[in-house]
Symmetry: D2
Subunit: 345 residues, 4 copies
């Protein structure tokens, strides 16, 4: 193993997912996982899937020097502790929203004041399919948000290929699982209240709109619903192009963008049970699926995009970005398939 790594905020869901991925990664050795609340407990105490892993949480105030530090802390923590993170590691991959936006102006529009606005321009936003060319050698990487990632992956090829002009009205109706609420929960995420729901979770003004605007260059109408699954984000994008769009154009646009992408699959129609992108089909993996249907009645293009919010929407994307940043094989530690069947992903 060529690189040492640490996970700050190791007891949360994305922290646990990073530990799982790094544990199976051929090039990384995990030397530290921090947790203030669970110091000295094994990582398996919080993450039962990792009960066989020989590692205990340590206090976040004492960071080990490592090659790569992954920060899986709540929004706001990374901007406070960024100097300590960069002192400890050559490469910092932040999974929070703290360094995703490009300017203080943008940040202030959606969040409440940034402690270290001067660093915003330094950080590389990481959605490797979008901008992998910026990542090699990057020392501060901001891994993309889950709902933004799902949306961008579905729409961007259509803009790149000119199938869409960028002036269209776009409605994005997202369905997400309960892991987006994080570990710990509260009344709204308790099992009796949360199971079996279709709940408007962010009817309007979800902060991921900021990332979509910045990286897609398009303002979208964005609504997020919570549904009964644990992992997964499915974005349905209803787009109204100026003129008719053909199936061939759509296929060709996705092929152009994703034909060589190791983690992207285009799924549109065919027979069988699974004809479109579904979170179940990618659960637990770094794969993303995109697909579409054309509505003959109203010249609408319906784009479907599905990811695992904790993987391609968070920890998987972060490891993918670190692979690119360090010059490791892109798929290292991420090339495994998902499960079928799987109940609620």
């Amino acid at each position: 193993m060529s690189y040492t790594a640490s996970v700050v905020g190791g007891s949360g869901f994305t922290g646990g997912e990073l530990l799982r991925l790094l544990d199976g990664h051929p090039e990384f050795e995990v030397v530290q996982a921090t947790s203030r609340s669970y110091e000295r407990k094994t990582v398996g105490h919080q993450h039962p899937n990792l009960r066989g892993m020989d590692l205990r949480f340590t206090d976040p105030s004492e960071l080990e020097p490592v090659d790569v530090l992954f920060a899986a802390t709540p929004h706001g923590v990374s901007m406070e502790r960024i100097d300590a993170f960069r002192d400890a590691a050559d490469t910092v991959v932040d999974l929070s929203a703290d360094f995703r936006l490009g300017s203080e102006t943008q940040y202030d529009e959606w969040y409440d004041g940034h402690d270290r606005p001067e660093l915003l321009a330094d950080a590389e936003y990481a959605l490797p399919e979008l901008n992998r060319e910026n990542l090699p050698g990057a020392d501060l990487i901001a891994s993309g948000g889950c709902n933004a990632t799902a949306t961008i992956l579905g729409l961007k090829p259509l803009f790149d290929a000119g199938v869409l002009s960028g002036d269209e009205d776009v409605v994005v109706d997202v369905k997400v699982g309960s892991s987006e609420g994080g570990a710990g929960g509260g009344a709204a995420s308790s099992h009796p209240e949360r199971s079996g729901i279709v709940r408007p979770y962010a009817p309007t003004s979800h902060r991921h709109e900021a990332e979509i605007e910045e990286f897609l260059g398009l303002s979208v109408s964005f609504t997020v619903h919570a549904v009964d699954m644990t992992r997964g984000a499915a974005a349905t994008c209803h787009v109204f192009p100026d003129g008719p769009v053909g199936k061939k154009d759509m296929w060709s646009a996705y092929r152009e963008s994703y034909g060589d992408e190791p983690f992207m699959r285009t799924v549109a129609g065919g027979g069988g049970v699974y004809r479109y992108p579904e979170p179940k089909a990618v659960a637990g993996t770094n794969y993303g699926e995109v697909g579409f249907e054309i509505d003959p009645g109203n010249e609408r293009v319906v784009v479907f995009s599905a990811i695992d919010n904790m993987m391609k929407g968070s920890a998987g994307q972060a490891v993918h970005a670190a692979n690119v940043a360090l010059g490791i094989e892109e798929t290292a530690g991420l090339a495994f398939q998902g499960l079928h069947p799987v109940g609620a992903p």
Copy 2:
């Protein structure tokens, strides 16, 4: 009890729901439930909730004379057997799509040829909140479809009050439960394949668009997703009005339409876990909920509407319509509350 009733197609999900409702209804006595496959079995054999009910399925070819016949048969059966139904009963309430549309032209656009097109004009479409004035004395009633009902209930008050003009672009993104697929199932609705999904179920061209067009006078962009619940239909309508719309206008429109409706509730914001319409909140009942949020960023109105597809979207609506048709108290047999908590409605 003042009226006798029968349920044709009593072994399916909506047939069972009708039996449950009629069993608890103060004015109806169920004298027959038919099922070709389960003849002579008790109704509890198919509907375990009704294991205490003393009634056995009989062959559908021998219909008892009754005051009201509820037909809960697959689409296409009612148009074939309508004469026998009308011979047996003074009032026929059909829960299929066979008699919902007003003209053969409309029907042919969405379905494959109607056996008895001359009856289409005679049948009254029943969505009591929309057109209860047409129902008293009606002898052939076509109970509205679940996804259409959810959509129409959410949008119609806004047109009636002039908040929307009817020229707007409207995207309707519906999420439905597995009972819409009916009893019996197939590979797509088997538990391992169906649980935990967000699956594009009718990406475009869902037949309920026909009802919406006809009764709302508006063409909508309509997409249906299957999600992990058993009962429930939640319609999210993304509407782009020509000019700014205020919260007051919205509240006022819903109050005007639904202020005196016994089964409609408007839910929009407030604190707590349940701030908007949710299928869970109305599961098992004839209640419908509507609510909304206004997106300040793009002058979009987001309308939420939730019903139980088997109740207000089917059997409950049918009994409601029968109550109105016969001059019974509207809420008779339907006034009970739902459950909380309930896992997956």
Copy 3:
């Protein structure tokens, strides 16, 4: 309506269930629901199924005088406030464990010291199928616990009929839903951690053993598992009788005990999907189901018992007991059927 009622602890799950039942009860008028945390909020704020109910929570320190007070407070509260409860109401029905056991000795064995041990002998344990003869005129009623109720309902007829002697080894393996954990939750009941589980919840020493011992006169080996449903308790009792037991004896024992019981159903075999007692079949209702199978290989009798823990295991049983205590028709307000299908009850 003949009686006024109040619900102390109205914002919890069983409090909400009581409000639902009393709202639909022909003889009760709810005049007060208390909640310290949600004072002045509507009951629909906590219980979305009751969004149409015109009632607001009030402070529990000021109790209205009523005919019947239902206490749905956490264990330990009733024994502290019992004098205030009895001052406010002629009849107090307590849903907690505070007054279920008959003696201080019994109580101390399973709980930590009773504030008012002298009242234990006064309180009537209420499992109406077991001891309805004690209830008429009772002024302090302790409604039975859910897991104990399921177990007792399954086994008692066999002892009464002499099919079992009472000396048998009995293993009771119970599966329960998430509502047993109450509203509010914590990490263990958060949706991501709680969904899809089979979790040993009380591997040994569950306190409901005390009730079983006292009211069944038998020590059982008792283990409770949490599974993925919201409502429901299913007890599987593995019993090893001294000699052979026939199916006829079993049927006869249940018929003898439950033949005239309005809320009990015996279900054992037959065809179809639902051949045995299941929580789904009774979800939302006051019905209980019992059934059995005989293992030819090892002369074991397997008894299945299913209830809705919030209904027959709590609020339904409490209203049933109040009906009997006041001389109201036993089934008043409780005679409705459950739902089919229903996702997770």
Copy 4:
């Protein structure tokens, strides 16, 4: 890659799981997957997790010569086609029950007549933790059944260490997920009927008792319940030892048997949410978990055992056995961790 492999019966759930495992296995190359119904379809058509895998189903009548053939066909097929299987491959690993029992007498007691009883003695039963010493060089391997595997893994160390004598009464109460019913389904496994259940699935006389008897040398009282998860089998074994058993003895017995086992974990108590074996903790993996609690009241030992029925209970165990048979590193292709959180495993 050193060995070629084929999967006969590749479109079913265990067939798909084998394909997933072999696709990620460093020593196997899959050269054929058969399916009569889906000939020429990609494997991703049936297994959406494998949409990226470049392999199409072929007709089962034309088997390619391979080093190892995995048969994932329904019970009864392997015994019919065993000669063709052995002609095609040096090593046959059968996942059905056809060759699990050691003698025709045993087989006839639980099943209906064996076509090739003379082969029963030749086949090696494979539960590697139990009998890995028999596997090297084996050419016909019968992979153990899921419920039997869970039970045997939990109990055997206690017999081996003398904590239990083998004369005890043992009640095994198993909870399983819907994948045990296989792909395709029927009414009982349709989502509306199957979700949220606690259903007695095999109240008595489950055929896996035969394996337990044969390989554990003990008759057990065995009952299987279906609960709401897709993957997973959890066995709770209630054992009544002759004399007192201490926690130390239990720990020591499990340490002795499983201390060096790569796939076994002992989990018993401690804090946190996950204190005992749970199917969720091992979902998607070849890990098995065992744990216990001692009931002070009735000198009962409660043993918990959890596996993924499709992995350690089927495909994972089969690959594990093939690894041992061929002298490959035991954990090759199986060493990955599971997911956390995961909705319904």
